[in-house]
C-alpha cells in the first residue's frame, strides 16, 4: 500500500526522513520501501513566489512571470496552466542540471527573457505528473530547503503481511509510527448535523445469518451533488495509488484508506423494497457487477439484496444497477463486518478481488464499523453538499469480544532468550493498546484490541514483545548443544561416490524439469501409470516424469542447436508413478540416467582423427560403478524395441532395474537430434541397496607378472561376454585376471566361426610361478573353453 506522508501527518507528528521511517517500519514488521533516489540538483532548487503574471505578448499559452526566491527576483516564461499571482512553487534557477542533457540557461522565449523555470513534478523526477507546476502551501517560507519539502511530500510503499489487516490503512500505519516514536496518534472527530425523519422509517436491515455478517450498519445522506473532488482529495488518492472518480466515490475510498474499513455507497432511489437483505446467493443466480461483467453465483457468495434482488456481492463488489451515478442525490452508506472466511471464498470462486475483499478476508475491525460510517457521512456533508438523515442502523446481534489471553513472562523469556521484566512488557502492551490485568508476578491477562484479529494466543503476544523489543536487540546465542544425530543411512555417500566416478568419466551433471508430457517416451524401469497434475502450467508439463531420458535428450538437443555436439550428461533425480494405496497417491523412485553423443576423443594434434563415442564407452563407465563391480548388477542382452536400436537390460536377480543401449534415430529425430545417442537409466534406490561395502584387503604379491595369450576359434554366435564370464569365474592358486584383447573373422578362420584372443595374467603368491605351473593353468582354461564353447586353439 502506498502511504503519502503528508496524509499520514494529518494524524501523527514525526521528524523521520522518509528513508528513516521506511527502515524503522521494516524492522517493526511492515516491509516498507522508499524509492526516490536523491538527485544532486535538488539543492539548486528554490521555493519561489509568483509576484506577478501576465500573458506573453507573442504566445497565447505562455505566461510572463516575476518570481521571488531567497536569492532575488527573476523573470520566467511559464507554460503551465495553473500559474497565478501569489502562488508558491518550485523554481530551477540558471545552471540547474536537470538531466545529463538538460541544463537551465538564460534564454529568450518568443522574444521574452526567461531566467529559470518553474517545474512540474515529472521534470524533477518526483512522479509522472505533468499537469502543472508544483503547488506549495502558501505558508511555505522562501528560505525553506526544497530537498526537505520533497522528503515531506514523499510516498512510501508498504508490503503488509496477511496477518496484519490493521496495517492496510493510514490509521494502522500512524499507530505503528506512534509506537516507533513513542507518541500518540489522533483520529479526527466525526461530528456533523443530522436532520429529518429517522432512517428506520425508510429502510430496514435483515441479516439471514449473523455468522456470515456479524455486523451491518448504514446511514442515509441526502441532497448530495456529484462533482469532481476537491484538489486536496484528488492529490491524496492519486499519491496513494487510487484513481479519482467523483466526490462520493473518492470520499468513500478516502475513508477506506484512512480507516481500513471498506464502505459501500448505494443510490437509495434505486433501492425499491425498503429492505436490505443479506443472504447467500442461490446456485446459478446471475449478477452484473460494477466492472460491467456478469458473474454466475454460488452458495459461497454472500449477497446484499434489495428485498430479494441482489445489489452487491457483499464485501467484494457492488452492482452496476444500484451504484452511484451522476444523477444520484440520496445515498445509503453501508459499513459492515463480514466474516473473513466467506469473503475469501466468495472472492476466490469469482476470481474477483478488490480493495474491499482484500481487507474483509483478512479481518477488519468490528469496532471500527461505526467510526468509518460516521466519518463518511461527515465528509459527504462537508464536501459533497449532503445533509445527513437522523440516526443510523447498526445490526450487531452478537458482539465480537476478543478472548482474554493468559500471558506468562517466563514463557516469553524461555522462547525469546531474553530476560524481560514485568515493567518492560507492560510498557510494550500499553503502546499496543492492550488491556492488561496483572494476575501474579509472572502472569497477566491480556485483552488485545479488536483491530488485531491476529492476536489470539500467548505466542502471538510473545511475537509482539520481540517485535517491539527489536529482533536486532536479541543477542545471538552461538552455543550449540550437541546431541549427535545418526544418519538414517549411508545413501548420500553412495550418491557422492557415484557422482565422483561420473565426473571422472567426463559426465556433466544436469538438472532437468520433473514434469513432462502425458505420453512420455522411454520408460525404463517405472511401470505404473503416470501422475497427472490437475492444474498444469502447460500440456508439456502436465504429468510427473517417469524417465529422466526425455529431459536429457532435450538438453542434448538444446546444445546441438548451439553447435555443441560432444556431450556426456547424467542426472540423479526423482521419477513418479501412481499408487492408489499410498497416502500421496504416488510412488517415487530415485533414478540414475545418462546419455552420451558425439566424440569420445575430440580433434587434437596428437591423434589422427577424433574417436566417436560408442556403446562400449557407456558400458565401460557403468561397469566401473560399485553395484556392477560387486556383481549384484548384471548386464544382459535384450531384444531391440521401438526406442532402442541395441539394448541391454540391467538386472538385479530376476528383476530388470534399468536399460542401456543405442537409441533409435526415429526417436531422436522427434527431439531434433541427428546424431547417435547412447543412453542408460536405472533404479537408483535398488543400486544403493545393492552397493554394500564388501571391501576387504586382498593380498598384494610382489612376484613378477606373467601373461599368456590364447586365440580361440569357435562359433561366431557365442557372445564374447559369455566366454569372458567363464574365464573370470575360474580360480587359480595365484593372482589371476583375464582380458579380452582381439576379435577376428575371415582369413583362415572358416565361415561362421570367429577367433577371439584373450590374455591371461598370473602372479605367484609367496613364490615365482614355474613354466610347468602356468602350462597347467592354460590347459585347464582350454579344457573348460573346449567343453563349454567347443573352441579350437588357433
Amino acid at each position: 500500500m502506498k502511504i503519502y506522508l503528508p496524509w499520514l501527518k494529518d494524524y501523527i507528528r514525526f521528524d523521520d526522513s522518509p528513508g528513516e521511517l521506511a527502515d524503522k517500519l521494516t524492522l517493526l514488521g511492515t516491509e516498507t520501501d522508499y524509492h526516490l533516489a536523491q538527485k544532486t540538483f535538488f539543492s539548486d532548487l528554490r521555493v519561489a513566489k509568483v509576484i506577478s503574471s501576465k500573458k506573453h505578448p507573442n504566445a497565447d499559452r505562455l505566461t510572463l512571470c516575476k518570481v521571488q526566491t531567497k536569492d532575488g527576483e527573476f523573470a520566467v516564461v511559464c507554460g503551465a496552466p495553473n500559474v497565478r499571482d501569489g502562488m508558491k512553487s518550485v523554481f530551477a534557477p540558471i545552471g540547474t542540471q536537470l538531466t545529463p542533457k538538460f541544463k537551465i540557461e538564460k534564454r529568450k522565449v518568443r522574444g521574452e527573457i526567461s531566467e529559470g523555470m518553474l517545474v512540474a513534478e515529472d521534470e524533477i523526477g518526483l512522479s509522472d505528473d505533468h499537469s502543472g507546476i508544483i503547488e506549495l502551501g502558501e505558508n511555505v517560507a522562501l528560505t525553506k530547503d526544497v530537498t526537505e519539502i520533497i522528503a515531506e511530500n514523499a510516498t512510501i510503499e508498504t508490503d503488509v503481511t496477511p496477518n496484519r489487516p490493521d496495517c492496510l490503512s493510514y490509521f494502522g500505519m500512524a499507530r505503528e509510527t506512534a509506537i516507533l516514536n513513542n507518541t500518540n496518534f489522533s483520529k479526527p472527530d466525526t461530528k456533523y448535523p443530522e436532520t429529518g425523519a429517522p432512517i428506520g422509517s425508510e429502510i430496514k436491515v435483515k441479516i439471514e445469518n449473523p455468522d456470515d455478517c456479524p455486523r451491518y450498519a448504514c446511514r442515509i445522506v441526502e441532497n448530495v451533488t456529484i462533482a469532481p473532488s476537491p484538489k486536496w482529495l484528488q492529490n491524496y488518492l492519486v499519491k496513494s495509488g487510487i484513481r479519482s472518480i467523483n466526490n462520493v466515490v473518492d470520499l468513500s475510498n478516502f475513508v477506506l484508506l484512512e480507516t481500513g474499513q471498506p464502505l459501500h455507497t448505494f443510490d437509495l432511489d434505486l433501492i425499491k423494497s425498503g429492505e436490505i437483505h443479506i443472504r447467500r446467493a442461490k446456485n446459478g443466480e446471475k449478477f452484473l457487477a460494477l466492472d460491467e461483467k456478469e458473474y454466475e453465483l454460488t452458495a459461497d457468495n454472500l449477497m446484499i439484496c434489495d428485498g430479494d434482488l441482489p445489489v452487491a456481492i457483499g464485501g467484494v463488489m457492488g452492482g452496476e444497477k444500484s451504484g452511484v451515478s451522476k444523477n444520484t442525490t440520496k445515498i445509503l452508506i453501508e459499513s459492515a463486518y463480514f466474516a473473513p472466511g466467506i469473503i475469501r471464498k466468495s472472492s476466490k470462486i469469482l476470481g474477483l478481488a478488490s480493495e474491499s475483499s482484500k481487507r474483509f478476508e483478512r479481518g477488519v475491525d468490528p469496532e471500527g464499523v461505526i467510526y468509518a460510517l460516521e466519518r463518511l457521512a461527515q465528509l459527504l456533508v462537508q464536501h459533497a453538499g449532503g445533509t445527513a438523515r437522523s440516526g443510523r442502523i447498526d445490526e450487531y446481534p452478537n458482539p465480537i469480544v476478543p478472548n482474554p489471553i493468559e500471558f506468562r513472562i517466563s514463557r516469553a523469556n524461555r522462547i525469546i532468550g531474553v530476560d524481560f521484566t514485568m515493567e518492560q512488557i507492560h510498557e510494550y502492551f500499553r503502546k499496543l493498546e492492550f488491556t492488561v490485568e496483572k494476575v501474579s508476578d509472572d502472569m497477566m491477562v491480556v485483552k488485545p484490541p479488536t483491530f488485531r484479529p491476529d492476536l489470539e494466543r500467548e505466542i502471538d503476544l510473545i511475537e509482539e514483545v520481540v517485535r517491539l523489543y527489536g529482533m536486532q536487540n536479541v543477542e545471538s546465542d552461538l552455543t550449540v548443544n550437541f546431541h549427535v544425530q545418526f544418519r538414517t543411512s549411508e545413501e548420500n555417500s553412495i550418491v557422492d561416490s557415484v557422482k565422483q566416478r561420473m565426473f571422472g568419466a567426463g559426465f556433466d551433471e544436469t538438472y532437468t524439469v520433473s514434469m513432462d508430457r502425458e505420453t512420455a517416451d522411454l520408460r525404463t524401469f517405472v511401470r505404473g501409470s503416470s501422475v497427472p497434475i490437475s492444474n498444469p502450467l502447460s500440456s508439456d508439463l502436465s504429468h510427473m516424469r517417469q524417465s529422466i531420458l526425455p529431459g536429457l535428450l532435450r538438453a542434448i538437443s538444446f546444445n546441438l542447436r548451439r553447435q555443441h555436439s560432444d556431450i556426456r550428461f547424467f542426472e540423479i533425480g526423482t521419477l513418479f508413478e501412481s499408487d492408489k494405496k499410498s497416502e500421496t497417491l504416488a510412488r517415487e523412485y530415485q533414478a540414475f540416467a545418462g546419455a552420451i553423443t558425439g566424440n569420445y576423443l575430440m580433434e587434437h594434434w596428437s591423434i589422427e582423427q577424433p574417436i566417436p563415442m560408442s556403446l562400449f564407452h557407456l558400458k565401460g563407465v557403468l561397469s566401473g560403478l560399485s553395484a556392477f563391480q560387486n556383481n549384484s548388477f548384471q548386464m544382459l542382452s535384450a531384444t531391440p524395441d521401438e526406442y532402442w536400436q541395441a539394448k541391454m537390460e540391467i538386472r538385479h536377480g530376476d528383476e530388470t532395474v534399468g536399460i542401456f543401449g543405442i537409441l533409435r534415430a526415429e526417436l531422436l529425430e522427434s527431439y531434433d537430434i541427428d546424431q547417435q545417442v547412447f543412453a542408460f537409466e536405472m533404479n537408483f534406490d535398488q543400486f544403493k541397496k545393492s552397493a554394500v561395502d564388501v571391501r576387504r584387503l586382498k593380498h598384494i604379491s610382489n612376484f613378477p607378472l606373467i601373461n599368456r595369450d590364447f586365440s580361440l576359434v569357435c562359433d561366431r554366435s557365442i557372445p564374447v561376454g559369455n566366454m569372458l564370464n567363464l574365464f573370470k569365474s575360474l580360480k587359480f592358486s595365484c593372482e589371476y585376471r583375464v582380458e579380452f584383447v582381439k576379435y577376428f573373422e575371415g582369413g583362415s578362420v572358416p565361415d561362421g566361426k570367429a577367433s577371439r584372443s584373450f590374455r591371461f595374467y598370473f602372479r605367484g603368491i609367496g613364490k615365482n610361478l614355474t613354466d610347468a605351473e602356468i602350462d597347467g593353468f592354460m590347459r585347464k582354461i582350454l579344457a573348460v573353453a573346449e567343453k563349454d564353447f567347443q573352441v579350437v586353439l588357433r
Binding site: 524492522l27 517493526l28 514488521g29 516491509e31 524509492h35 533516489a37 503481511t161 496477511p162 475469501r344 471464498k345 478476508e361 524461555r414 522462547i415 525469546i416 532468550g417 502471538d460 511475537e463 520481540v466 517485535r467 529482533m471 536486532q472 536479541v474 545471538s476 552455543t479 550449540v480 550437541f482 546431541h483 544425530q485 557422482k499 565426473f503 571422472g504 568419466a505 567426463g506 551433471e509 538438472y511 532437468t512 524439469v513 520433473s514 497427472p532 497434475i533 490437475s534 492444474n535 538444446f558 546444445n559 548451439r562 555443441h564 550428461f569 526423482t574 513418479f576 497416502e583 497417491l585 504416488a586 594434434w605 586365440s711 584383447v741 577376428f744 575371415g746 582369413g747 583362415s748 584372443s757
Partner: protein, 337 residues
Amino acid sequence: MNIQVRIKEIRTEFDSEFSACLSLEDFNNLQRKYLSRKGIVASLFKEIPKLSADEKRSAGKHLNVLRKSVEEKISEAIQSFQKKKKIDLSMDVSLPGTPEIYGNKHILSQVMDEINSIFNEIGFSVETGPEVETDFNNFSSLNFPENHPARDMQDTFFITKDVLLRTHTSSVQIRVMMDKEPPLRFISPGRVYRNEAINARSHCMFHQVEGLYVDKNVTFAELKGTVEYFCKRFFGKDVALRFRPSFFPFTEPSAEVDISCFLCGGSGCRVCKHTGWLEILGCGMVDPNVFKSVGFDPEKITGFAFGMGVERPAMLKYGITDIRMFWENDIRFLHQF
C-alpha cells in the same frame, strides 16, 4: 603343388597371422618368419629355378608382389609402434596438452552440498521426503488454515484436492516429527514446486533447504546464532545481518533475514534495489499449533525452523541473471562452475 596356388595360400595365412599380432614383438616375429633369409618368402624364391620359363616369369612377378606387400604391411605396423618415439625427439613443448574431459557438478548441487556441510558442522543431519505430498503435511499441519490468505502466498500444483506437489520442504519436518521424538536437528533440502509462470525471475520448480531444531529449551536467540553462523560461513564473515518481524503460518514469532548486499557493500545498487539489503531467508520459532499437529506438547518443547531458496543465493553469489539457465543445461553454463 602349383606355385601360384601356394603363393595364394601363403598370402591368406599371412593376413590372418598379421591380424592376430598384438604387440611390437609379434610383428618382429612375423617379419622374421616371412622375410628373413630362411623365411617363407625366401624359400619360395628358391623354388623359381626349378620352374619352366613361362612359369618363372609369372611366379617371379607374383612373388615380388607378395614380398612387397608383406614388407609394407609389417614395416608400417612396426613404424606405427615407433611413431611416438619419433615425435618425442622433435617435441615442441608449447603444443597444447591432450584434452582430459572432466565432468562438472551442477552448480545447484555444489551450492546444496555447501549448505549441507555448513549445517553438518553445527550438528544438523539431513532428512528427505517425497515431492508429491498430502495437503496435511504441506499445509494443514503447518498451521495454514483453509480459506486463509496465507495460502495465496504459495501457488500450488494439485494432483487431487488433498494431494499436491510440495510447495516447500517443510513437509519433511512434519514427517520427521511424526516419526521421531525430540531432540531433533536436521535440514531438508529438495525440489519444490509453485504454479508460477516460467520467466527470467521465476520458475515452476526450484530448490529449498529448510532446517528444524526441536528440543526442551530452544530460543529465538539460538535461532539468530544459527542463522548468523550459516550466513557468515556461506556469504563471507563480513556480511551484516538484519532480522525483521514477518509472517509465516508455521512459525511465531516469524522473521525475515536480510544480509547486507555483498555486491555494493550496503551502499545500494541495482541488485539490492538500492536498499543495501538482500532478502535471503525466512525463519521463526515453531508455532505451537504445528507441535500439536504432530503430537508434541508445546509447553515442554520449543524449536526453531528456517528455510531458504537455493537458486536465489546461487544467482546472487555467482551473478546468474536468468533462473532458467539452471534447467537448460547449456554446457557453456555447466562448465563455468
